[in-house]
């Protein structure tokens, strides 16, 4: 049996760890509230933008527009949104697994990373990183999304990449976060949606259709990126809160069992001392 001193030492170290995890849980709970609100406020825009753009494209029928078909380049841009810090359970590894487990070939992938954790682990696995925007993840702004979107469009227009994907964690509610890989460009819309929408009146554009799309597509891309960023931020804090909650309760469990062990050891040592004293007294008499 371990000595009382050893058990006490372990207990102390676990207690201080649990204090840290408890504090981290509180911090991420507060942050979750803030980021969750942002994610919920931005969701309508995200949704409307998606619906509007897909219905717009469906209505305009077969349009010969560069953003509607894959580029000539074999390269595929993947925007990977993870966090800058760990201790968030499976949050980061779920996203990186999504990329490594997808049908995208490692040689073809060009990463645009937001979040250090994802960048480091994918870089280690041999993926090529084109650009890193890790500084924006803590407080994503719409202008950040716009800047990243612009860069992606430039690369797409200059045929450095042929397709653009986005890997992020979508925020369903406080406990459910779902890693998602979606295709941003070329814009895809389902056939079913198209046939229903096509029956409706055709859309007019002012200025011309191409000019309008030239302006709308960057906005579409920026809004999708922004939506993904705020949802990822909310998911990150949600995941961290859960992980820290689990860590705290695990620590409490360990402390409980260590307390039991400690008490047993204490009792054992007292009993031993007593027997020694009694044995000594008997030897004298």
């Amino acid at each position: 049996m371990a000595s009382m001193r050893d058990i006490q030492r372990r207990k102390n170290s676990i207690t201080s760890t649990s204090q840290i995890t408890k504090a981290m849980k509180l911090v991420s709970t507060v942050k979750l509230q803030k980021t969750k609100e942002r994610a919920e406020n931005s969701r309508p825009y995200f949704q409307y933008m998606y619906n509007t753009v897909t219905s717009m494209l469906a209505r305009s029928g077969s349009l010969d527009y560069p953003y509607l078909k894959s580029g000539a380049s074999e390269k595929k841009a993947v925007v990977v949104i993870t966090s800058n810090r760990g201790l968030a359970g499976g949050y980061n590894s779920n996203v990186t697994k999504l990329v490594t487990g997808s049908s995208l070939k490692k040689e073809d992938v060009l990463l645009y990373t937001i979040g250090r954790k994802g960048r480091d682990s994918l870089e280690k696995q041999g993926y090529q990183v084109a650009e890193d925007y890790s500084d924006v993840i803590n407080a994503p702004l719409f202008s950040d999304a716009k800047r990243i979107g612009q860069r992606l469009l430039e690369d797409f227009a200059e045929e450095r990449v042929g397709e653009i994907y986005l890997a992020y964690t979508s925020f369903k509610n406080t406990v459910v976060h779902e890693p998602k890989l979606m295709k941003l460009l070329p814009v895809e819309f389902s056939e079913a949606e198209l046939s229903v929408e096509e029956a409706k009146t055709p859309m007019n554009y002012e200025p011309s259709e191409e000019e309008a799309l030239d302006i709308i597509i960057p906005k579409y891309l920026a809004s999708l990126l922004y939506g993904a960023l705020v949802e990822a931020a909310a998911s990150e804090n949600g995941a961290r809160m859960q992980a820290m909650d689990a860590a705290t309760s695990n620590a409490e469990e360990m402390i409980d069992s260590l307390t039991l062990q400690y008490n047993r050891a204490r009792q054992g040592s007292i009993t031993q001392e007593l027997t020694e004293i009694i044995a000594g007294a008997e030897a004298i008499s």
């Binding site: 942002r38 825009y45 554009y205 809004s223």
Partner: protein, 136 residues
Amino acid sequence: MAADKYFELEIVCPDRVFFQGEASMIELNTTEGQVGIYKRHIPMTMILDPGLLIIKDDEGQRAAALHEGFIEILPDKISIMAEAAEWPNEIDLNRAEEAKVRAERRMQMHDSNINLTRAELALHRALARIDASRRG
């Protein structure tokens, strides 16, 4: 019929739903110039220019500043996707005036380091804010 002239109006920004309700007419600035839209307009998509937005219904009219975005018009529904929109009481008039002066100066400097279109856009935004806040 009074109720017949109302259409659904939705104004959505990245950080919030700015307006959701009914209106009888809206006025706003597009890249093609100022337009006023009533119900049963032909389907149309237009690009917004920063400017004053006026929403009219039977009770009167409300003004707001609207920056960058696009508008999708259907006969009985209008959706505006704006990057930013502000009611007059949310606008800091002094800041807007300052921004206007700054943008004007930049445009006059003829410096190659300064992006003229950006300065122009900043000026438009400032003017939109000033306009809206005076109307509010």
